[in-house]
Structure formats: C-alpha cells, structure tokens
Symmetry: C2
Subunit: 406 residues, 2 copies
Amino acid sequence: MRILIVGAGGVGTAITRIAARRPFFDHMVVADYDLPRAKAAVAALGDRAARFTPARVDAADARAVTALLAEHRCDVLLNATDPRFVLPLFEAALAAGADYLDMAMSMSRPHPDRPYEEVGVKLGDEQFARAGEWAERGRLALVGMGVEPGLADVFARYAADELFDEIEEIGIRDGGNLTVDGYDFAPSFSIWTTIEECLNPPLVYEKERGWYTTEPFSEPEIFDFPDGIGPVECVNVEHEEVVLVPRWIPAQRVTFKYGLGEDFIGTLKTLHALGVDRTEPVAVMTDRGEARVSPRDVVAAVLPDPAALGDRMHGKTCAGTWVKGVKDGRAREVYLYHVVDNEWSMREYGSQAVVWQTAVNPVIALELMATGVWKGAGVLGPEAFEPRPFLDLLVEYGSPWGLREQ
Amino acid sequence: MRILIVGAGGVGTAITRIAARRPFFDHMVVADYDLPRAKAAVAALGDRAARFTPARVDAADARAVTALLAEHRCDVLLNATDPRFVLPLFEAALAAGADYLDMAMSMSRPHPDRPYEEVGVKLGDEQFARAGEWAERGRLALVGMGVEPGLADVFARYAADELFDEIEEIGIRDGGNLTVDGYDFAPSFSIWTTIEECLNPPLVYEKERGWYTTEPFSEPEIFDFPDGIGPVECVNVEHEEVVLVPRWIPAQRVTFKYGLGEDFIGTLKTLHALGVDRTEPVAVMTDRGEARVSPRDVVAAVLPDPAALGDRMHGKTCAGTWVKGVKDGRAREVYLYHVVDNEWSMREYGSQAVVWQTAVNPVIALELMATGVWKGAGVLGPEAFEPRPFLDLLVEYGSPWGLREQ
C-alpha cells in the first residue's frame, strides 16, 4: 500500500509517527501547503523516515492532488486537513482511482429559514450524493474515520452487534480534564474546526422524526467520565456520528454531546456575537496593502497551535459511545470509551493527547484495508465494517479501550 | 483661521457638520486616508460646503501632513484619528508652525515588570516631553480636547475656580443608556480606542502617592447618572483626565470610571484572553497571499461602524465630572455633566450621540482660539484655560450642561 497524506498539521504529524512503527504499508507521501512543515514531520521520524517523502500541495487544488497521487502511484489518500478541503480531496482521490479516508466530512449549511429546527445541507450530504460513482468504480471512501467520528462509530457498531438486542439511544460523549499551563485560553484541538462544529446548529436524530436541529449548546447534561476524569457538563454539538450511525445501526435516537465547560461556551458565544467566528472575508489593511481576510483565520493565527502545547498540557481526554437499550429482555446501559493520558502520548509519541487520539484511528483503518480485513466500495462510515478487528488492533497499538456497565 | 482636520470618520464628519454652522473660521481642509470618505463628509454639508475642501493624506506620514498644512496655509491641525497617529500629526503641526488639537493623547506603555501597580510610559508623556519646543516656537498644542478628555477637564477647572475652596477627589464618570437595534454587540464608539483604554492598566492619581495603576476594571461602583439614565456600574479605565487634571488643579485624588456594564466587560475580557485585542500583526492568508494583519483591526472591520448606527440607536449618553471637597468650610459634592440624547443629535446633525458629544468640544475650542479668548503656547490641557467662556459657548451651540448638588 502506498499512501498520500494531505495535511502535516498536528493530526497529520501524529499519523506519521504512529504509522512509522507499523510495517503494513510500503510508502507514505506527506504533503502540505507549507513544505517546511511536511519536511519537519518527516525529519522528526529520525531513523524511521525511510518510507516517507515530504511534498508540497494545495489541498484546494483537486487537479494538483490527483497529479500527486499519480506521480507517487498512491493507492489511498488520507485527508488530514480541516473540513474546508474535504470536497477537493474527495474529488481528487476519485479522479485518480484511489481510495480515500477522512476524519471530518463535507460541511453543513444551516436551513435558510429555520436553522435551529430543521436541517439544511447536512454534514457529509455532498459526499453521500456521490456514493454511486465510488461504488461503480469499486473504490472506497471511508469517511469520518478519526476518533469522533471514527472510533465512536466502531463502538456503536460493536454495541449493536454484541451487546444489545434493541437500542433506544446512542449518545457520543466527549470530555476530558486537560489544562494548559500559561495560557488564559488555549483550545486543545483546531480552533477553526471547534468553532465550526460548536456554532453550527447541533444535529439530533430520532427514528420517528428523522434529523432535526436545535439552538447551539442545547440540552446540557452532566456526564461522568471514567478513568478519574469525573463529571463534566456536556451540550449538543453538530457532529458526523449523528449522520453516520443511523445509516447503518437501528436506534431510536442518536446524539452527540461535547464537554465544553462553561468558560469555553462563553468564549464561543462572544466570538459569535462579535462576528469574528465568520469565514467570509473582510477588508483590512495589511503589510501588503488592503486585503481580504477571514476573521476566523485571524483567531486561529492568534491562538497557540494546539499541537505544539503538549509539553504544557496535563490530564486526559476521553471519547466514547454511551448506549442504552435491551439485551436478553433486560434493560442495559453501557459506555464504551477510549482514554488518552497526555503524559503517555507525549512520552511515547511526542504528540499531545487529543491529536494522538484522533490520529491513531485512521492508521488502524489503513492497516485493516491493507491487510484486506476491511474492504468495500462506495462512501461508507466506520460502522459499515466489522468492529472487532479494529478494537483488537487498538489494543495492539498500545492504547486499550474500556467498557463500563452503567 | 484656516483649519486642517485629519480623519473623516465618525467624529471628524460630525465636526464638519457642527463647524459648518459657525462663522469663526475661513476654511477647513478635511483629509482622510480614504479620499471618498473625506469627499462624502464635505458633500453631506450641502449648501454649507463652500468653506470645506476634501483631501487625501496618510496620518502616519508626518512629512505629507506638514506639506498639506503648508499647501493650504492652515493655522491649526485638528487631529480626529485614532491614538496611533497622535505623534506623527503632533510632529507635523510643529514642523509646519501650526497650532494643534487632539481628543486623545499619545499612547501609554505598561510598566515592564509591575504593569498593574506602577506606571510605565503614561498617556501623553511623549507629547509633554516636547512641551519646551512648542513653547519656544510660540505655538499651542491643546491636547485632550474632546468630551472626555476635554469638556470633563473644563468642568474640573470650573469646579476648582468657582465651586470649591479645597478638593478631595475629582472623578470623571461616564455612562449612558444607549441601545442599538438588531445587533448582539455594537459598540457606540471606536472599538479600537475602546479596547485600548479599557484593557490598558487603569490609572489613578493620589497626591501623596503620585500616579499608579490597578488591574483592569477595578473598583466597581454604582453611579447614578442624571436626566433619566439612572444607576450604572462604573469601573476604573485608563484615561487622559487622570494625567491632565493634576497638572493644573490641586486635588487629593483623580480617577476615571466608565459605565461599561457587565456584558461589555465580559466581552473585552474574552477578546483579551483570546489575544484578538492585540495590535502586533500576525501572518494570515489573504486574497493577496500571506500578509501580516493586526488582529484588533480585524475586530474593528467585523463590527458595524459605530458612526453609522445612529438610526438604530436609542437613549442618552452622559459625560461629567464628580467633585468632592469643601466650600466655605462645609463639605460639598457636585456632578457637572453634559447629556446628549441620540434622537436630538440625529435630528439636528445626523450624528449619533457619542460621536456628536465628542465632536462639539474641539469646535468650541477652535472658536475660542480664533477669537483670541483662549491663547497660550506649549503643550496644554483644557484645564489650563478659562472655563466660563467655553461653558457659555456650549449653551450657545444648543447643548446645555448641568450641575447637580449631591
């Protein structure tokens, strides 16, 4: 297997470090808009760098990406950029006859009149619309294959296959107790993506009603996270699992809640009230004369790079899937989860916990594709595949998962 | 008198409208970086535009401003830009042998080690350092001549001259009940300046201790504003009056408190925690390639122009000077104040209340200079001059002031 990874940011860099220890692939091209960043990711692999080649590419330029796939005879494109680049990369892989993986899906657009009640364009709609072409060409687009979405969807499939006869609700719940020394405000993941998912209308699925939306930060609940993290207030957030899970798993209700905390919610609300969360460019004076910039890009440029904060970070992050239903005629409730301790991920991989937790999952998926354990054609979510081999590899990668009966 | 006004923003435009009704000057050149903005200000004067000429100038370019002063044979430069341009305009006027007025003084820099206890470079320090040159050349730099600083300083001098034998404290208190329809967050004055004054360490003067600083938003108090505005929570803010008043008026203590309100304070704190209040440029992608932009300029570009919100604004703004001391052996406490109702300023001048209230004061000062009532040389604050003629002209301009015994 020859892989092109596009995006050598925090997650992309962690992917190279995890993949470098596994023999399943022949070569990985590490491409970024910023060539020195791609080179730095490869150089950091030290004596494990032989199978890696840095390259420069603009993820927005589908033709250039297709050419790069051909040039390096890559079988698969792994998208490790932010969600703005999903569609050009998805197109580029299809045009090159390569398989494709991403960790976030094509972007949503709110309903024009009733944004906080009805769905407009949902996450991934523009990818699923092309599913026929992928199936016809016998190529696989494995979408939403990070941790959330990704591992969370694998957990949902595992619960449906092995733990429940009937499922009432599947609720992805994400929380942690990470702190960053020396910063008033330092998000532990891409602020661009965090703003996008938290300020869009949250999505809920109900079997009777279908998909619908709510006001941001709705339905707060306290969820008790395992492994010493403890109770965290979680709120509804727009996320791919709510789109993916109901397509493959019968459940009465699917939700996603994020443990943002009161301060973080307040900050996001202020960004929104000011309008600096916007992506539409505004005219401003620069050292190159008046130019148009996206306010959200400026917020991201001002904040510290979350991938670079691992040394100042303390605590754990938890991703997981809470499932409520019936097994053998009795009510059952479980939380399937994966915890990463920042101290461990920094020591083992030099990657901070949130970034490492996202990165390990597409590497496992690639290994399952390379070994033929996971195969398929079309646009498929992680819950379309056998969950056991995935969960076993996660343990083999040194990062076990857990199950808590509630 | 021939006047060059630099800056055709909200305050500059209101100045042209107020000045156009007064016969005391011969000509006013209205200059801005953005020539269409200067032309629009002049065009809006209609049949009163004959004494006005629009021009283009970069306020940061002292040589160009000096040349413009010479070209139009101007006697005085009125600076209506933001505080970044105080020094080049101050220099330009001196080089051209013109008098100079501004409404905000040269910028402060916090103490390098103890920013919230000791002063570093104070507001206006860099202007007062040049006072000798101005005095030698017989030219007047009348600094801080808006409403606050400006009218507030005139009130302080009036209190010292006519209302008190001894003064314990002079406290500038600014508050209002303005609201703006249709906006989650819409500052009523330049957000660039508001961030600058509110996030810098607030300045306090005490006779025994001299000038010192505190944490931002310190010493909250409820101040009851007149004319139906009512009680507003006010906090310490860095402002020129605290520098100016003690130079000319003996008082035990001088403070400035601004009625920001809890929401506004929360928003400013969030801007600061994120770092988007910063002026140092960051690199970001633009439609002209990667360029360096000041995050605070982006915040200002995203927010609505406060000068353009008059039609959606409701309520009144109050600026004033609270004085506590002794008269004829008895304790006395007064609040000298000036209230502008947005409905009135919009109807009479098409200018919103805060902008109009700032703009009227330098026009009155220019009239007093033109008629020889106010004269002097050096770098002088408003409290260096006779207050009565100023307060009488304010009434004549149709906008009376008030006195409340507490």
